[in-house]
């Protein structure tokens, strides 16, 4: 055998292999000769004629009827011209044959050995497989969307009825009309979590006999049981009166399994006190069943591709079983609702994907990241090194926050800022029980959120106690507002030049029947966090008006200044309330001053400006409190309708002997005067301080040197003495 024939045989063998491969892949392969003209390398007899037409012996052109492929060639030509490596993919398209049959294709453009190549692949199998998966996924998506929408609509109606109908019987009647028609379970509970109304569907959902026909189990008892087991944080939901959405898995004996989607909403009165709870229960077993056929969809979040809550649970359980220490981090995105509402869900989704990617980039391969709720992620950190592993874990958590804080580029805005709050627990130090770990992580996150967000909190027993205390304090405060357990004291403010009392600052004290007198520092921050500051602020304002009225009757017409918290500044109803109340008590606006803290200016300047201008229009005056502690610049002050600056007590303490404080205070006074603002010094306790301030041309002073905050009687005594 000659060498020559050997080579030819080998070549032929190679070609044969090539063709066998193309056949197996179900590909037609073309090599581009010139624009729109190809050399046929391999064809599939059964379908190539749909795509290509023979033009001469071995030249072919693309069938013009194949619009999609013709369009793709525009991109392919550009791709070949750039002589790039890689493959350009057309994506799937479908051709319909004259007999109605459908063929599914994908085209690939690449360059092989310098030659532009076009591959057309019949993707029948992949297509069918992907279609099954996507079909299930999309049906789920739409079912969820529809369910949520029905629940939202119904809830809006029920919420309206409960909030507006003062007549209980009428209210129940209206609601029962609504819920009887519903296609899902609805329950209305009173604030003690006892059902007062539910539709019969609830009993059918749990295969229970209708009420009154015996049996100790009720729908609500089953739901609470399931929540206790599957969502250890459930207690906190009720204690802190927050909305909740989740899925429950119900195993009814012996082989019967149901998936329920449960939404829980608190209904609150104007004081924010929960009067009712409404539960919505949807049977989503069919959807779940659909998903369970598909491992990936059942265990991974479709948006971020991260393990979902179900998988997260089994990972936590497994890790607990292995007995190796780990940290569990809960990462909760702050104010995510705001983003969804203001920029749209598409943008919200996009953000979540970016956040997931950033977390993945930051953490090690062996660390597990899960998406366990709409805007909640969980991280399981193993092998945290160092002899102080808490410290290392803290450093990691800090890096997570930093990473999340990097501005986001999204469609509408190229600088979207996001913060997150993180709660951390340790296995086995904090607990060796998966349920408790998750519950504690939730609790720690909740606390991180409370302290102004963008914070990290490690779980501890004190934290748990503090949370419990906080919740009971919050309830007590709500009661206190309801029963008006507050007293408003007045602290005189003296004009330095004349030595006369020119006005008074109103200061609130809580006179609790159980705990005695409680100072503002112990409840104002809580009131601020919970929003109770709004009703409390209004209550205090009414007290002040009453005081002024009484003083007027005694012939005194002093101005009283009232503290305004940041939340009140953002409350649209506040300014109308003020002027309504002033009219009601017949108090002239000139007798009212509002004190805003410097730090509340820092946030949304335009909003603050707007509120203050509105208030000022009616005739009240405004002062800036705690001046010097924040970052407000002169530029700010110039634009605000402010009349007084109050220099914070921290500068006054050292004014008689600290050169630094002296310099600051004197500079602030000069600056204020140049802006035509008067200056009040707070916390003046001795004559040395007063002397300094007098020399610096300070206008007025307030502090223990003259008087503590006193009740109205004592204050009138003061006025009497002072006017002698």
């Amino acid at each position: 055998m000659s060498l020559n024939t050997d080579l030819i045989r080998q070549h032929a063998a190679e070609i044969n292999i090539e063709h066998a491969v193309f056949n197996a892949l179900d590909c037609t392969v073309l090599s581009r000769q010139k624009l729109d003209v190809f050399v046929l390398i391999h064809k599939i007899d059964t379908w190539s004629n749909v795509i290509i037409k023979k033009s001469s012996t071995n030249r072919v052109t693309i069938n013009v009827a194949c619009l999609f492929l013709t369009d793709f060639l525009i991109d392919a030509e550009l791709f070949w011209a750039r002589n790039e490596s890689g493959i350009l993919n057309s994506g799937f398209w479908t051709e319909q044959l004259s007999n109605g049959n459908l063929l599914h294709f994908e085209a690939l453009a690449c360059i092989s050995a310098g030659q532009p190549i076009l591959i057309i692949k019949n993707v029948a199998q992949v297509f069918a497989q992907q279609q099954r998966t996507l079909q299930a996924a999309r049906e789920t998506l739409i079912s969820n969307e529809t369910l949520q929408q029905q629940v939202d609509d119904t809830h809006q109606r029920i919420n309206e009825t409960i909030s507006t109908d003062s007549d209980d019987m009428q209210m129940l009647k209206t609601i029962s009309n609504t819920i009887d028609k519903a296609t899902f379970g609805i329950m209305v509970l009173n604030h003690k979590l006892n059902p007062i109304l539910q539709n019969p569907l609830n009993y059918r959902l749990f295969q229970l006999k209708d009420p009154g026909q015996g049996g100790t189990e009720t729908p609500i008892s089953i739901i609470f049981d399931l929540m206790k087991k599957q969502y250890p944080e459930y207690q906190r939901i009720f204690e802190s009166a927050t909305q909740w959405h989740g899925e429950l898995y119900w195993l009814a004996a012996p082989h019967y399994v149901k998936w329920l989607k449960v939404s829980i909403y608190p209904i609150k009165d104007t004081l924010g006190k929960v009067t009712h709870w409404v539960l919505y229960i949807n049977d989503i077993s069919r959807i779940k069943h659909l998903l369970q056929h598909n491992e990936k969809l059942a265990h991974y979040d479709s948006l971020t591709q991260l393990p979902n809550r179900q998988l997260f649970w089994s990972i936590v359980e497994q890790n607990c079983m292995h007995q190796e220490p780990f940290y569990l981090l809960y990462i909760d995105i702050d104010n995510f609702k705001f983003i969804n509402e203001n920029y749209g869900h598409a943008e919200g989704d996009e953000l979540l994907i970016i956040i997931a990617q950033r977390l993945q980039k930051l953490l090690k391969k062996e660390d597990v990241i899960c998406r366990i709720g709409g805007d909640e992620f969980a991280v399981i950190l193993k092998n945290v090194n160092g002899n102080n592993s808490d410290k290392s874990c803290m450093a990691i958590a800090q890096r997570v926050l930093t990473e999340v804080n990097i501005p986001y580029k999204v469609q509408h805005k190229d600088q979207l800022l996001i913060t997150a709050s993180i709660g951390v627990v340790h296995f086995p130090d904090d607990s060796n029980n998966p349920d408790l770990l998750v519950k504690y992580a939730d609790l720690a996150t909740y606390n991180a959120k409370l302290t102004g967000k963008s914070d990290i909190k490690f779980y501890s027993q004190e934290l748990q106690q503090k949370t419990a205390q906080r919740i009971s304090l919050e309830n007590a405060l709500r009661e206190a507002i309801n029963n008006d357990e507050f007293e408003v004291l007045l602290q005189p403010i003296m004009d330095i030049a004349s030595g006369k009392i020119i006005k008074a600052e109103a200061l609130v004290r809580w006179q609790s029947p159980d705990a005695g007198r409680i100072m503002p520092n112990d409840f104002i921050p809580l009131a601020e966090e919970t929003g109770l500051i709004i009703p409390l602020g209004k209550l205090v304002f009414k007290h002040v008006c009453r005081h002024i009225k009484l003083l007027q009757q005694l012939g005194y017409h002093h101005k009283v200044s009232v503290n305004l918290s940041p939340k009140q500044i953002y409350d649209n109803s506040f300014s109308p309330f003020v002027y309504h109340t002033l009219t009601e008590y017949d108090v002239p606006p000139e007798q009212i001053e509002f004190e805003i803290t410097e730090s509340s200016l820092a946030n949304n300047f335009e909003v603050v400006l707007n509120t203050l201008q509105q208030l000022k229009k009616g005739g009240v005056s405004i002062s800036v409190d705690d001046f010097g502690t924040g970052y407000s610049s002169l530029a700010y002050l110039k634009r605000l309708p402010v009349d007084y600056l109050k220099i914070d007590r921290s500068f006054i303490i050292g004014i008689a002997n600290d050169g630094g404080d002296q310099a600051i205070v004197s500079a602030v006074i000069v600056m204020a005067h140049s802006l035509k603002l008067k200056v009040i010094a707070e916390g003046v306790e001795n004559v040395e301080q007063l002397k300094c301030l007098t020399e610096m041309n300070c206008d007025a002073v307030q502090g223990y040197l003259f008087s503590r905050p006193v009740d109205l009687n004592k204050f009138t005594d003061f006025l009497q003495d002072n006017s002698k």
Partner: protein, 165 residues
Amino acid sequence: MIQKKICMLGSSAVGKTSLVRHYVDGIFSEKYLTTLGVKIDKKNITIEDQAFQFMLWDIEGTDQYSGFQPRYMRGAAVLILVTDCTRPQSYLDSLDILRQARKETDAPAILVINKSDLKAEWKLEHQQLFDIEKEFIGTIYTSAKTGESVETLFELIGDYFVTQY
């Protein structure tokens, strides 16, 4: 004969495929079969003696499983944004999709509110609807099931093309 490319856009299961099927083949199926990628159908139509060939690009719905494909917008003469009158979210999605399409093409867009045979239990605020509608050259309620206004939709588009000549 003038060829015109028309893109069917919108979130999944709003009825893009069904509208095309009804228009081209006069059939409707209750069963939902999700579209993958693209399928192009052709339909000839004559309006005021002008013959057109519509090339109807039925494009996979845009949702979290499948992103918007700018490439498919090339050469589009009209965009049909399909929404489902029973799903408020589909309106918002359509705006989002239109915004992305606008980066690629200035082709006029028509808002189709499909499934008009079903009762919508909700409605958009006037302002909201106004904001949406001002993005479109027209709004039309259709049903791929009963066929309501399906022909009309494409005739409107034909009319629009005729006025262009």
